[in-house]
Structure formats: structure tokens, C-alpha cells
């Protein structure tokens, strides 16, 4: 079986300008933050980001990487709003495709199944249809009910983070929620999985239903310990709430932000993790 191990920088180098990149996790939970940080170190730009958004969105917006954002929400969970996302929206700095979060799920599922769309009730009567004027409805051929035809959210690249994986891309989540990481992978042409620890296949113990991705769904595996920081990656670690507050405070103040970048985001992943350790 193929050894798919690679570095975060090698994953980031796979991205090119204008690509559509799906990011797994949910809000400020199990985000592939080390991969996101690696993207900040590249010249890539004009990305379309597809995400149940958290600080992944904030960091990419801060670095000017985002041309277009596809989302149902952007939130830091314990802090309701991501300041960078708010700022770029209020400046009119990005194009958006804002959906109901169940519609977003249908879009991922449609892409995973190679369907052009899936029907869903969510969106009817709401301004989802007004702010996305290209969205269409379909009529049920059985009883005539009108439903929203949620288009497939096709991705060029998927980035997800799990607790464990083997070198072939069999990935395991050990927390309570798979989120939508398997669907992100199935919706994408190129799929990259970061994890807390790479282990032998035989060491992927625990209930078999925790094996969320299998190797045909993954093109590259990256070991990034603490790689979801500062989002949660239970049971390995919870969200670093103190650090998240530092992020949010810095992100909310354009005068503070450069020193946050200097302290945490300017010396690669090793430098980031050392700087985080030094603050805790």
C-alpha cells in the first residue's frame, strides 16, 4: 500500500490561485489549523473557501487569501463572532455564498454522490434564495411539492484533521462527532488529512466505526501534533480558550494584529507551537 505521508508545506504547495478548498471541522472544533497556517506561508490567493467556518476562515481572511467564501455560519463557538470575518464582510472585501447549514450538508452530500443537486426544504421562504439568486427550486415529480435544489459543493481540495491515521490515509476520530470530514474528502478531487499522530494500521484500535476516512478517500497524510490548535481536538485536547481570546482580541484590533502575526504566525509551525507553549 502506498505511503502517503507528506509535510504541511507540501500540502500547501498543492494549492494554486483560484482553487476551491473545503475545510473540515465545525466552528472552532477540529479544524486543520496547521494546514491552514501552512497556506498562510505561501503566495496562493483568490481561494474559494468552503467551510462550517471558524478561525480557519478568520486567519485566511486576515492573510488576504479569500476571494469567495461558502458557509452557513462563521463562529468561534464560545466567542460568537470571528472579528476578521466580520471586518472583511463589513468592508465588502469578499464574495459570499451564505446557505442554511443543512443546505450546506446537502451540497457536500450531492458532490460526494456526483449528483448535480439534492432537494431540501431549507431555504424556502427565506432570504437564502434572495442573496443567492442563482439558486433554483424543483417540483417533486410525485406530489408536486416545491423544494430547493441545493447545488453540489464540488471541491478542488479538501483539508481535514483527525486524531489518528495510518500512512495510507485510513483515518480515525476519537471524539464524539465526525463532523462532515468524510464528506469533504468525497466532495474533493485532492484530499489531505492531517492528524495528531500517524500510527501503523494495526494500531488503529477502538470501535471500527471511529474509522472515518479510508485510504481511497485520502491522497496525503500529515502528522501535525497539536495541529488543530487553538480549536478543539478531543480527546487529545480541548479548545485553548485562553489562546482563542488572545486571537479574538488581536483580530478585533488592527493595531494589535501585526504583533499577533509576528509572535505566532511568522516562524512556521514549529515557531507557532513554541510561541504557544511560551504563553501558557
Amino acid at each position: 500500500m502506498r505511503d502517503k505521508r507528506m509535510s504541511a508545506a507540501e500540502v500547501a504547495a498543492e494549492l494554486s490561485d483560484g482553487m476551491t478548498v473545503g475545510i473540515g471541522g465545525w466552528g472552532s472544533r477540529r479544524k486543520p489549523m496547521a494546514l491552514v497556517r501552512a497556506i498562510l506561508d505561501t503566495p496562493v490567493r483568490d481561494l474559494t473557501i468552503v467551510s462550517y467556518g471558524g478561525p480557519d476562515v478568520g486567519l485566511l481572511c486576515a492573510a488576504g487569501k479569500v476571494r469567495r467564501l461558502v458557509y452557513g455560519f462563521v463562529s468561534l463557538d464560545t466567542i460568537p463572532y470571528d472579528p476578521w470575518f466580520q471586518r472583511v464582510r463589513q468592508q465588502g472585501g469578499i464574495e459570499v455564498r451564505e446557505f442554511d447549514e443543512g443546505m450546506f450538508y446537502s451540497g457536500l452530500l450531492a458532490a460526494s454522490h456526483r449528483l448535480p443537486f439534492l432537494p431540501i426544504r431549507a431555504g424556502l421562504g427565506s432570504d437564502v434564495l434572495r442573496v443567492n439568486p442563482d439558486l433554483k427550486t424543483v417540483q417533486s415529480p410525485y406530489d408536486g411539492e416545491e423544494l430547493v435544489a441545493m447545488p453540489a459543493l464540488k471541491l478542488d481540495v479538501a483539508l481535514v484533521h483527525l486524531n489518528r491515521a495510518d500512512p495510507h490515509g485510513n483515518g480515525q476520530y476519537l471524539g464524539p462527532d465526525p463532523y462532515f470530514d468524510d464528506l469533504f474528502c468525497m466532495a474533493a478531487k485532492r484530499r489531505f488529512l492531517s492528524c495528531e499522530q500517524i500510527v501503523d494500521t494495526s494500531e488503529l484500535d477502538g470501535p471500527p466505526q471511529t474509522l472515518l476516512t479510508n485510504r481511497m478517500m485520502v491522497d496525503g497524510v500529515v502528522e501535525t501534533p497539536n495541529g488543530a490548535h487553538f480549536t478543539s481536538c478531543v480527546p487529545d485536547y480541548g479548545r485553548d480558550e485562553a489562546f482563542q481570546r488572545v486571537y479574538a482580541k488581536s483580530a478585533a484590533d488592527e493595531e494589535l494584529w501585526p504583533s499577533f502575526v509576528d509572535q505566532f504566525l511568522s516562524r512556521g509551525e514549529t515557531g507557532y507551537q513554541l510561541a504557544v507553549q511560551a504563553t501558557s
Partner: protein
């Protein structure tokens, strides 16, 4: 007894007769209300821990990660209590953005699950500060769908001042009761559109047993 305990009991009453469905209260006061309902009138209610588990009386009784929540939304056995940055007289709710959606003056959370919730199952709202900022003639972005747009799942609104519903011929908002010590005028002064005020009652006070339960559920008084 404080005003906030009246609000908790009013939130508990949202679930009267709900039976064996999933209660999804967003925010502390609706959460306390749903828990109080399960301990009193609605023992069959299902409650999530806000993450991926259903919590029964004695710990975990089920698994409900986010993607299964969407299944329950579509299935319909759910009553959600959401917040609202803006709410109009037909129950249209905005949690997406203030101003023009293309370039908002204030970006909020986004649509979240509001469009799907309101076309699939019963939805109520909790407004901790009843004001003309929230109760507006017209919401900037319709996230949760109201009665004038062809959907009929908006049930009640509980605020720090009163309880409202939509039991009028055209599905517009009606004052059900004001909390003890609150006048009808106070509600009207803080509402940016005309309200139907028929036979307005006083919101019931929680019983001594309910007050004891609320104290047990929130011993540190995070609700105050």
C-alpha cells in the same frame, strides 16, 4: 423570585405537550427552561448536551452528532428556541447580517440552521432584551421564516418583558402575557410595530418547587 425565573418558567411552558421530541434550546435561559420542563411537565423530552450526546436523567442516552441533528430537523420531531438579532411582527428572524447583505454594517453569525428549522418544525425565540432594536418593522435579512411567507412553525417569543405568540387571523404577533410588574405600555414602547393586545394576562410565577429546581439547575446563578 426574580424576573429571570419567570422567564425560565415561560421557556419551560414552551414545551407543554411536546412529548417525546428533541428540545434544542439555544442560550442559558431556554436551556434552563427545557430542563425544568423535563423535570416537571414533560418527562419524555429529549435534550442534547450541545455537543454530540443526548443526555438522559442518568447520563448519556443517545448519540446525536451534527449531521444527525440535520436528520432530526428534516424529520420534524424537534422544537428549537433560537435567539434573534431582529424579529418582525410575522416572526421573520434575522441572525445573518445587519444592513445590506452584500456589504453589511454588522456581520452576524450567518443563516445557521434558521431557514431549515422554521420550515421543518416548531420554532420559538428567546429575546433577553426586548427593544426596538430587536422588534423591527422589517428585518434586514430573513433567516428564520415567518408566518407571512407561507410557513407556520413560529410558535412563541419569550422576552425579558413578556410572552408573545402568533395566534391571530393573519399570523401576526400577539401579546399573550406581560411578566409580573411589566405594563402593556412598556412592551408597546419597546416594540417597533403594532402588537395585537387582546386579553393580555400576567405571566405565571414559577411555583416554589420550580424555583427549587431552577436553583438546583443553576446553583451559581449564571442566569442573573
Amino acid at each position: 423570585m426574580s424576573r429571570i425565573d419567570v422567564c425560565v418558567a415561560a421557556c419551560a411552558d414552551l414545551f407543554l405537550g411536546a412529548g417525546e421530541i428533541l428540545a434544542s434550546p439555544m442560550g442559558l435561559i431556554p436551556q434552563l427552561g427545557a430542563k425544568l420542563a423535563r423535570l416537571t411537565t414533560e418527562p419524555d423530552l429529549l435534550l442534547s448536551d450541545g455537543e454530540a450526546y443526548l443526555l438522559g436523567e442518568h447520563g448519556v442516552e443517545g448519540w446525536l452528532p451534527y449531521r444527525k441533528v440535520f436528520d432530526v430537523v428534516a424529520h420534524g420531531r424537534r422544537h428549537v428556541v433560537m435567539g434573534a438579532n431582529q424579529l418582525d411582527r410575522f416572526g421573520n428572524q434575522n441572525i445573518s447580517a445587519i444592513g445590506d447583505h452584500d456589504k453589511p454594517t454588522r456581520q452576524l453569525l450567518g443563516f445557521r440552521g434558521a431557514p431549515g428549522n422554521t420550515v421543518n418544525h416548531r420554532t420559538s425565540y428567546w429575546v433577553p432584551k426586548h427593544s426596538r432594536r430587536v422588534f423591527v418593522p422589517r428585518v434586514d435579512v430573513v433567516s428564520g421564516v415567518g408566518h407571512d411567507r407561507g410557513f407556520h412553525h413560529a410558535y412563541r417569543v419569550v422576552t425579558n418583558l413578556c410572552v408573545l405568540d402568533f395566534e391571530t387571523p393573519d399570523g401576526s404577533m400577539r401579546l399573550v402575557s406581560t411578566h409580573p410588574g411589566v405594563t402593556v405600555d412598556e412592551v408597546l414602547d419597546n416594540t417597533g410595530f403594532p402588537l395585537d393586545i387582546g386579553e393580555t394576562a400576567t405571566t405565571r410565577e414559577p411555583s416554589r418547587q420550580e424555583l427549587e429546581l431552577i436553583d438546583k439547575l443553576d446553583p451559581d446563578h449564571a442566569r442573573d
